[in-house]
Subunit: 289 residues, 4 copies
């Protein structure tokens, strides 16, 4: 397909490459020029302007957060001039923004699909993302080949444009919950003479197989938080997104509140740019370990 | 081997049967007579007294909690008269009790092994328990054939008799944490138009494979808590054990505190005899769902 | 003095009347006309425009929140055309807004004083407010006669324009904390056979004299939350302001997080328009009382 | 009256002296002999045995906690041999213990009054305690002259022997709540440029007059925790008593859970023997101040 691609951070770059490898034609745009040049060297063509990235059959964007998406893409002139039939927004944004975005796109005759992903940059590079998608079924089916090139599985979560973002916000809240839980358990174990690594070995081979305990657990037992696969400060952004989404519907999430406080403490103690696993330093500080 | 077996509740019965099936000779004792009769019909011999169950090469016990273990087994007369060389205590008890028990056994020349398990009665019946064991290595090796008959894997967690109990207490704390986390996420999803079952489907096939999300998640999305595979009131006992173990070493566990409050609320609302998954009713009540 | 007054809600009206009674000359502005007419009947003159309310020696404003202050008053044209030498902002706004406001006022040669108050409308009517003020000392001294007419005491909290708002945000957080604490204690007492009113009687005459326990405590023991002296939804606004102010400096406030969750639950259960004391319904729901 | 007095710690000594000063006849008992000698020098007579302290018209006890009361006083032989008509237990014990004690006393024809107090040793020395009393009215009236000698006011909280202990447990929970709340607010203020002492000055002269903010607030703003007027470790005992009392009736107290975790952290960081105000170190650690 003829694809415009906006946002070439670590995730965006990896995803764009997968599309090139699958034989799609890519017109790429990024705020800074270096990533554009790199992709062009691999076969993409450069979009001189954001509008040029919307002069395609379908446009995919992978930007940082609500603020950037709102400022760059929710622009009447951009959307009204777009040739693209569908815009696939793969960023982690708030469900509220997704609803506003879908409405604005509809006013300009443009389809909107929310498709945030689970997986870090290395997972994206391997084409193994889990893609959480919601929007009109016909349009989801139409862009399925693109998702197939980027992910191992695409979840169709219904027509509501916000549904995929609700799922993504929930998943990230659960991810941080699991890390806080193991952090507390590791301190409980260590203070009582059991090596956290021994506890982790039991857990990953019994109750908690899967990537979360295995990956974050190892960083916690080693208290090694660099390089940051997923920055702790971004974890605070995601937990805050969960709290705000919940509050907008009068839903208390006491566990998310606890996570927010643990993350703030970790940032106060200088761990904001380290990996999310550094939330475990808060548990250690509590126990004076 | 020639084994004495004390405590024929749902778990104990299933474990004893596995030993019989593996060709071991069993002398069984229970407070009430019916389970004894059932096991005798399957090839065990009855122990008329507790002391008779300690007239064996090795004695295994699977009792309810600290109180029962303390009252029945930490008895000078019983231990001093025992022929058994080793007592394997497979109950979920406090690390503190394990230390006191090991000391008392040693005074009477009896080995003590802590070996609590992960898995419900159906898992025990299939011989698929995860056995968390600690104590002297030579004795652990000696009783290994018994563990092999009852479990899919035995974890040697060191010589400290309390280590296995620390691991078990930690694992149960993490189990309840995961259930609370998904309960909150399910409410967040539902209040924002995403079916909790759709969220669960994503999670069990991406971040959170394994038995916890799959098993408890289904009960939560269906709000169906009977029959109780693991009673909620027992979950409160386990979380309290984690809090007490932590407090004894001045370790704050704010997530365990939150779990305790959620469980207490569920009990106040009448869910104490239902499955642990009913902790999710607390999240729903918070949001007036 | 020749005073412009902006914002004639319940608080603003009562404060403006105190100034009239003390002999000051008032030019009053409000979004809706009725309160203006009422004050004019008592001797004020009407300001046809916001700008006219800044055509005075000093302008006092008493608006709802950050959003309204930002939209109406942080206006380059308004501030550059003002004759007033000083603008006294008595609303409960964020410290961040106070800093931005002070800077913008300075650019237009206008002094800025932050002076939020402690006390409800009946306290304002009696001239018994506690006024928390910060800003340049000379200007604070100059407007002191106005504060004297409105309050029982003015606290000079330093030159930093944000200081008074920090104090106000902290005080409101402490107010809600005390109410949550007594709410939990009242349930503890009731569930154990002690009437909450008897407990309250002890407390107000020993550890906790003063208006908070006496006033809110009575509403809690009677579970009577109307009319709302201070709306619960406003309490959530204030606690959120404390959390946001804290988060901006990486300060975790776990007690404020707990209050936010209790307030959200109360709103989910339909108590948002009732008095703040209705936060106690959350404690009762937790215990199934 | 002819009074037996058991327990001459700092509180007991001060209270016994007030009784002597009021002209009552005292027979005093203590585990260690020095305090007995001191009181005898002031006019008391020594009780050679605990039983001798119950050979009086009325016996007052002021012991440390449930464990000590249970071990020393809930003794069939002691109670059956007592001449005293009434035993007034002024210790802070659990409501559950009060009920068991009242029943056991009744079986031996002895009246039981629960009368814990609010106030530290200096308050006791001045005869200014607040006495929280419950039990049979006739007996309460009979011992009123003793209470009048020790306190500024006696609160009759009903016939239920546990009621006074419920009130005391609740009051102490509220005391620690207020200290945690101000601790968090002080950090919020400091991190935002407002001196905590300035905030405290506002609060004690507006919303929060009374001894709690004035006394503990000063220690917190000065971060000065010695000598300990009330040891932090005792504060943990009291909060745990509140949590246990609540849990026995399925009442969640999330604020008490938070206090417990803050206190445990303070103890882990070495503040257990300092004044309760040192709970504020936990808030400072959270914010890396």
């Amino acid at each position: 397909m003829d694809v415009g691609f906006v946002g070439l951070g670590a995730m965006g770059r990896a995803m764009a490459r997968r599309l090139l490898d699958a034989g799609h034609s890519l017109r790429v745009w990024n705020r800074s020029p270096e990533p554009v040049a790199a992709l062009v060297a691999e076969g993409a063509s450069p979009a001189e302007t954001l509008a040029a990235a919307f002069d395609a059959e379908v446009t995919i964007s992978m930007l940082a957060d609500d603020r950037v998406v709102e400022r760059l893409l929710l622009d009447e002139e951009l959307l009204s001039g777009a040739r693209a039939a569908v815009h696939v927004n793969m960023a982690t944004v708030s469900p509220g923004l997704a609803r506003r975005a879908a409405e604005l796109h509809a006013q300009h005759g443009l389809g909107y699909i929310a498709a945030p992903v689970l997986g870090r940059a290395d997972v994206a590079a391997a084409g193994n993302l889990n893609i959480l998608a919601s929007g009109p079924t016909a349009e989801l089916d139409w862009v399925a080949p693109l998702f197939d090139a980027m992910g191992r599985h695409t979840w169709h979560l219904g027509e509501d444009p916000a549904a995929a973002n609700v799922a993504k916000v929930s998943a990230n809240f659960l991810l941080v919950s699991a890390i806080e839980a193991f952090s507390e358990a590791a301190v409980l174990a260590e203070a009582n003479g059991l090596a956290p690594a021994a506890l982790l070995d039991v857990l990953t081979n019994s109750l908690f197989p899967g990537p979360v305990y295995a990956g974050y657990g190892a960083m916690i037992t080693e208290q090694s938080f660099e390089p940051a696969g997923f920055r702790l400060a971004l974890g605070l952004k995601d937990v805050s997104l969960a709290l705000d989404t919940a509050a907008a519907t009068n839903v208390p999430l006491p566990l998310a509140s606890l996570l927010r406080d643990s993350l703030l403490q970790a940032i106060a103690h200088g761990h904001g740019e380290q990996d999310l696993a550094a939330i475990s330093t808060t548990s250690r500080t509590r126990a004076a370990l």
